[in-house]
Every structure is written in structure tokens, then in C-alpha cells.
Amino acid sequence: MTAAQWTRVKEVFQAAVERPLDERAAYLTGACGNDPGLRAEVDRLLAAHEQAGSFIETSATPPQTEPATRLQPGDRIGRYEISGLLGAGGMGEVYRAYDPRLGRQVAIKVVPRAFSADPDRLRRFEQEARAAAALTHPNVVAVHDLGTHEGQPYIVSEFLEGLTLRRTAAAGRLPAPKVLDYAIQICRGLTAAHDAGIVHRDLKPENLFITRDGRLKILDFGLAKLTEGQPFDRGSPATGTGTALTTPHAIVGTVGYMSPEQVSAQPVDARSDLFSAGAVLYELCSGRRAFPGNDAIEMLSAILKDEPESLPDTDVLSAGLNRLIRRCLEKSPRDRFQSARDLAFTLDTLLTITGPQPVARPHVSSRAASGPFRLIVLPFDLANPRPDDLWLATAFADSLTFGLRHAENLIIVNREQSDAAAEVRQLADTLDVRYCVKGTVQRIGEDLRVVVRLIDTITGAITLQESVTDRFSNLLAIEETLAARFVTAFEAPRAGPVPNRTSSLSAYKRVVLASELHRTGRYREAAHYLELVATQDADYADAWALLANSYARMTSPAASDDGTRQEFQRKALNAARKAAELQPSLYEAHIALALAYRGLEDVERWRMSSLKAIELNPRLAEAHVLLGQSYFASPLWGFARLRDAELARHYLERALLLDPRFGLGHNALVYHLTWDGRPAEALVAADAALAMLPDHIDILRAEAIALLRLKRVDEAERILLRLSTESAASAQDEWGFAAIDLLRGDHGQAAERFEAVIARGPRAMRALDTALIYCQAGLFPAAAEHLATARAAAPSCTSFVSQSPSFAAYLDQAPVAAILSAEG
């Protein structure tokens, strides 16, 4: 068919489709005239149109099930009982398992058949793996056993908790002292292996594991034997990676760290491992690959030909590291360190010169002042106010905040009640804000006079001053004029639609009051006002979004009971949908949707709404928190989600970088760390948060839980008592008191209190909390009972439990294990 014929077919088809069925035949006869080819093609399309239904209407989707070959919890390999999948990669799947003979947790790597088909290669692999199994060194993962399961070789090694170096360093480069620390540990492990005559051959960040206590372990000695030479083995199409060279990124993980002698298929010795170690260390120092490329061929060519870009010598330590990394990366093995021992010696020297240095996590507020400017808008002062005018102080601050949010070179820091009285200088120090906006509102008869100043917190100078005088009834216009002038002053206003506001001054006033109530956690009262607004102006998207947000906050398991939760969830979703419908580009609408879907445990929509909000404004904190929560390690907000502790932490920390005082963000981080099995870190995070936001109820609550996890009962009790004098005791607080009873040995009282709290719901989450505290108290039969309760309420919670770092230490306890393995 020619393009011209096709254009004609389209025209006739589209016109026919738009006509009622009974008029089509006549139309077609007229339109096609004496062109039977055209008529036939249009008829064919019309027939297809009628039958097509939802064909390709939903986008391509992934499979719903896993292949059956994967081992399931409860399956056995040899004497080992599988308890779950830890991970899967090109070299096979790794399971967590239990060794009943020695009563310990182990990790089992099952090598895919594709790699073990060649008996000769398999024998060499076993030889090497046996040699590796003989190694005992703190920096080499201990291999306990080898075997074959249904034709697939497997390796049993010690069970490690932590992350691979790939994940540890995912956020970019590491500080030099940390790199030195890892370098020394890699060298020690390699020295032990090389002394035993074993070359690793596949050193890369994925094979270097950092345990919870910071020890580095080298994984997978000998495994490289299985795949050796394969990427180049074009002659044998049966190998799994034979086509990888032509596929971008397919074998990058391995290729990027190969030594030149491996790339050119020369004999390989211990010095090859030193090259790979150098490439890893280069990446840790710089956050970049030593030998980058868009595909395997580019990388291989870089390894053979290119010198890695040199790294800046910022101090003695980094200069020393750079020098020895360069030496590791010499193309010829002759020019490198000749042994891991030599390299270790040089590293030790570097350590004595520079001394061991503590490696601190960067503090959230220590962000450099470059790039986008941080700005805070303070409540306005009122000159000779009428009692009825107090809300104007908030209204102007809110509308300016809202307007400035869309300036791309600004990050707006949320204000707190206490800020109004604070000195500008003090705000600059504690909040790292560069600019502060402050204004005055004055009533003059029927007029309002508003003066707004932009203050540079570094110099104290007034950088900009704007004033507007107009009728009070033109309040909304005054606000818009001021916001527009400030946005212009910061240039780069975002190309986006202007928010739909209301034309009703009284509706607007109610929204301002509601947002103030919302800010202070009085969600119920806020919702009350906003329901009234909805009857005044049903098209006010901002109001719907805030209403949805208020209802969603009321569904928090910490704050509400099962009965009311469902009602609030429904209302939150309806209001959020309404807001998004009225104004699809409204950031708050998507936040509200994310909150509503979070409450409903609809993880996919929850993440999509968060992502959408981030896209609309990547500089605001709340969407990052919501996205982070979708990867939480905790049972809060359901069990259905994809858990990833590091991603959760990443997004939460990003949120706190954007807004160091986002209370709910701090609260989320503390809660997350507690459940990720890091209560001590959670306490550090809570302290940092409370330094910024003293007396924040949610953070105090989260801190109490972390303290209980550490069995610091008295401190937890002090916090809970204080909370109960300040606000009505929430279910969460009640639970805390029950936990205190339990940890103090008052089992009877504890049991009663837990019972009551679990009844308030959400059952699964509370029962799981309770099971964990019973585990901590060593009362496993009671823990098992609560696990059973949780499972009855939410069957998917067992997979959560078996993967949760918090429960990890208790999974072997017979009553707990029995519940987890029992049929649901």
C-alpha cells in the first residue's frame, strides 16, 4: 500500500467509525465509489475494530508467576532446609537455609545447569571450590560444604547479614578513610587466598560483601572457573553468555573489572586479582567506573588501551590511595604490585601515616550552599490587627510559599510555629537557609497594605522589598501579585499551569485555617473545615487535596482504630481523585493519591503517584518520603510491597536533605531503621530529629519503639508518660505500655493490654509488633500465638517475617518456625 492509499483508507475508516452503524453502509458506498480495494481494506479494519476489544489497550505486562524451578521455603537441598531466597544473579540463586545438624543458618548458592553441563569444567570448579573451602580467614566467606542437587552443583557458606559493596556504594563515592579500610580488608583476604594458590578471577563490587559490623568478606572464590573464557567463546553457541558481547550492558558486571590479561585470554595469576581490586577501589574513590563504556566491547577496549582518568589528590590520604590504585591498574602485570602482601604492606603504611579516621555519615543540614538556594517563608506580622484578621499572617506566608515552590532554583523549607520569633541568623545556622521572606500586613480602612522583604541570611541585607496596597476584597489578587513579583526575582519560573484557586474569599479563609490545623496535626478539625469548603466551591482542587491528605493522615495505624480507618480511607481516596481530576498538574493532588493508595496498600499506584508528584516538583520532601515508605522494612502500611531497606533509606535521606525539618520524614526514617534491625541507628536519627524539632510527638513515639527494641525500658517509659500527659493516648502508646509490662516481667498485665490493643487494629501489624517483643523477651510460644493471629489477619505477613531483619534471630526457634512453616 502506498502512503497516499493509506491516508485515504484512514480518512474513510475514521469517518465511518464516527457514524452510527445504520448509516455506515451508505457512507462507504458513496466514499469508496468504484475502488473495491479501498472498500475491502476499510471493511477489514471496521471488522477488526468491532472485535478488537481491549487489544493492546493495557501496556505490555510482565509474567504473574515465577518459574517452578525455583526452590520454595520448606524445600530441602541435601540436609539443608530452605527458608527463603536471598538473591539471584547470573551465577545462580542464593538461598537462606537452615542446617539442622549444626543448628545454624547458612547461605546456599545453586549454580545453574547451563554452567555445569561440561563435566570437565565442573570437576575443575569443584577442585577450586574445595581449595577455597579450606580457607579460613575473616575476610573470606567461609565455605561449609559442597554438593550436587538434581544435577546442579551447590555451595554452602556462612550466612552473612549486610550488603554487597555494589549496594553499599550505590549512592556514589565513599570517603577516602572508608576506601582505605575496605582496601586493607580486600588485601588481607586476597593474601590468604593467594597463599593457598587460589586466584579469585572475578573480583567486583557484587562479590565483596560488607557485613552489618563493617567487615568485608570476599565471596565466590573459584566460581569464575565455571564461566571462564565464555564471553569470547563464540564457537560454542550453547553457552549462556555467548551472545552477550553484542548486547549492551549484558555482561558489564563482570567485564568492567577484568584484567588486560583476562581480556586477551592470556594466562592469569594472582596479579590479575590486584588489577580487579584496583578497578573496584578506583570506583569507590571516584563514584565512576575505571573503564567506562556503553557496552562490553567499549569496556574491554578501555581495559586494554585506556588509562583511567586521574583522580584529584585532595589530601595526603587520597593522594596515597590514588597512587597505589594507579599501580594496581598497570596494563602489564610486571608493573603492578607483585603480590597482595606487597599491596597490603603499602596500605598499612598509608594507615599509619594518616591514622585511623572515624567515618561519619554526612549530617542532613551540612549541605553545600551552592546550587539551588534554600529559602524559608515566615508568618507575616500584623500591624493593628482585628481579631478576625489573624489568619492573614498564615495566608500570605502560605500563598508565597506556594508561588515560590515553582521557582526551580529554590528549595522551600517548611516553617514551624517557633520560627516567627527566631533570629534570621539563627535560622541560617540551624536550617541552612540562604534566604528568609518576612512581611507585614496592615489594615487601613477597607484597604490592606502588605510589605514583603527578602532577607539574605548571610549578609543580613534586604535583597528585595515589594509592597502592594489594595482593597481587602482583592486579597487573592494581592497575593498573586506578590508571589509573581518574587518568582520573577528568582527567575526561571516553572513552565506550568497556574493553580486553580477559588473565587470565594470565605472558602479561601477556611482553607488557610485548615492548613494551619493540618500543619499542627489537628487533622480532624482540618477535615471539618474543608468539608464545608467543598460545599461552597466544589471545584477548588487545593481544598480537595488537603481534605484527602487530612483523611489519609487519620488512617495512620498509630492514630486510629480499624472501624474508623476504613471510612477515612474511602473518603481520602474520593477526595484525592477529585483533586487530581480537577487539576492533574497539582503536586498536592498526587501526594494525596499516594497517601490514599498507601492506606489501601495498593503499592503500584502508591509508587506511581509518588513518582508523579516527584516529577511535578522534585524539590519537595513529602513525595520522597512516600516513595521511600513504599520500600520500608517495617510492617506499617501493609505487607504487599517490595522491600528494599537501602532504597527506603536513600529516598528518606533525600527528603531530609531537601527539608531537614520534615517531621514525618524523620519519623519515617526512625521507624524504618528500627524495623531494619538497626535500633541503635534509629536512636541516633531520632536524636538528630529532636534537636531540630524538639517535642515532635511522632518522632518521640518512634523513639520510644526504638528504645523498647533495645530493652531500654525506663527511658521508653519516660517518653510514653510524657506523651500521655500531652495528648490522648494512641493505640501505639498503649502498645508501648504493654511492652514495658512484658519486659519488666509482668506477663499477666502485658497480655491483657496487648489483647486490647490488637483488638483496636490493624490486627496483623499490632500482632506482629507483639510477636516480636515476645521473641525479644524469649517467650517463643506466646510469640508464636501472636504470629498466628497476624497470619490469620494477613496471610502474606509470613513472607515478611521470614525476610525481616528484626525477626532474623528468632526464625530458628521451634514455635516460631512451626508457625511459619505451617499451612495457612
Partner: protein
């Protein structure tokens, strides 16, 4: 890896200033990132999670693009390329899967990815891919539209932005493309 975001952002900027070669250089980066994301999803979790290509594409955008630095039209450009990359990933997998069934040939995607990426149960992706290629010969815009919507998960509005046509036109073009493809795949006769 650290250079990827600024690289993609830069290429998008270059493209929007009319440098068409930037487009060709974007493809491998976005393609690689999508595959990497797909693989990392698989490592993280198991059977109970389903992966949406749409979510993958959004996450890749978030990771690769400094959103303060690009015009919002660049977003559509990015999604257009990502849809194309997603098409290749899904179709390659479908081919590998088909080859596997016949007991011949080797998957061009890795074992990990093969587990991750699947086939819409009602659509023969290989046949769809071939039909799309034929459609591109007579109507490139329609082919891109289907690619963007079906493989990239773009909404009508986003596709309109990508193709620089009105949402109403997108709706009409979609109806034709859908009917034509359905006819091609099922051998519908009038």
C-alpha cells in the same frame, strides 16, 4: 554510574537544540538502565510482586534525568526512547522464550531478565513487533504511537506531547492503528 544522570540530561538538552545525533546516543544508555532496573527488581523480590514497564520507565527517568535542567518537552523525548527500548527488551525476551520452547538458540537476554520480563497473555509480541515494523513503513507516526502507548505506557496526553499532535488526533490515530494491528495479527477479513 555517577555520570549517567548528567550525561542523559546533557543529551536531552542537545537534542532539544536540534542535534539529532544526541538521540542515537541516548538509546543505549536508556536501554541499559531499563535492563539494569528490571534485573535489580528481580533480585530484590520474589513472586508476589509484579513489575510494570510503565513504572520502570518512570523510575529510569527519575534516575537518569536532572529535572531542573531539561525542558518539559524533553520528558516526552525521553519517554519516546524508553518506549522503544522497552519494546526491544520485551520482544527480545519473547523471541528468546519462543526459541527456548523449540529447544534451539540462546536467549539474547540473560537468565535473570528472562524471569522478569514477560509477555502480555493476549498479545503475541513477536507478531506485534513485526506488524509494527510493517506499519512504520506506511505510517511511521502510528507505529511510534503504538510503541509509546503499549510498550512505554504513555498516556494519551503524553503521547500527544511526544508526537506533537493534539490528544484528539492521538485518539483517532490510535483507533486506526489498533484496528489495523488487530486485523494483521488475527488475519481478520471483512
Amino acid at each position: 554510574m555517577a555520570s549517567a544522570p548528567s550525561q542523559v540530561t546533557q543529551l536531552l538538552q542537545q537534542w532539544s537544540t536540534g542535534r539529532d545525533d544526541a538521540r542515537d546516543r541516548l538509546f543505549p544508555v536508556i536501554y541499559g538502565e531499563l535492563r539494569r532496573l528490571a534485573a535489580s527488581y528481580m533480585r530484590r523480590e520474589r513472586a508476589d510482586h509484579t513489575l510494570q514497564p510503565t513504572a520502570l520507565v518512570h523510575e529510569a527517568f527519575l534516575k537518569l534525568v536532572d529535572q531542573r535542567a531539561v525542558h518539559w518537552q524533553s520528558r516526552a523525548h525521553f519517554f519516546g526512547i524508553a518506549a522503544q527500548a522497552m519494546r526491544r527488551i520485551l520482544v527480545d525476551h519473547a523471541r528468546a522464550h519462543a526459541a527456548d520452547k523449540r529447544g534451539a538458540g540462546e536467549p539474547p537476554v540473560s537468565l535473570d531478565e528472562a524471569r522478569m520480563l514477560g509477555v502480555s497473555p493476549n498479545v503475541d509480541l513477536i507478531a506485534l513487533d513485526e506488524a509494527l515494523t510493517r506499519l512504520a513503513a506506511i505510517d511511521p507516526q502510528q507505529s511510534r504511537l503504538v510503541e509509546a502507548r503499549f510498550f512505554g505506557g504513555l498516556t494519551i496526553e503524553e503521547a500527544a506531547e511526544l508526537l506533537q499532535i493534539s490528544p484528539a488526533t492521538v485518539g483517532r490515530e490510535w483507533t486506526v492503528a489498533k484496528a489495523w494491528l488487530y486485523a494483521e495479527l488475527t488475519g481478520t477479513r471483512s
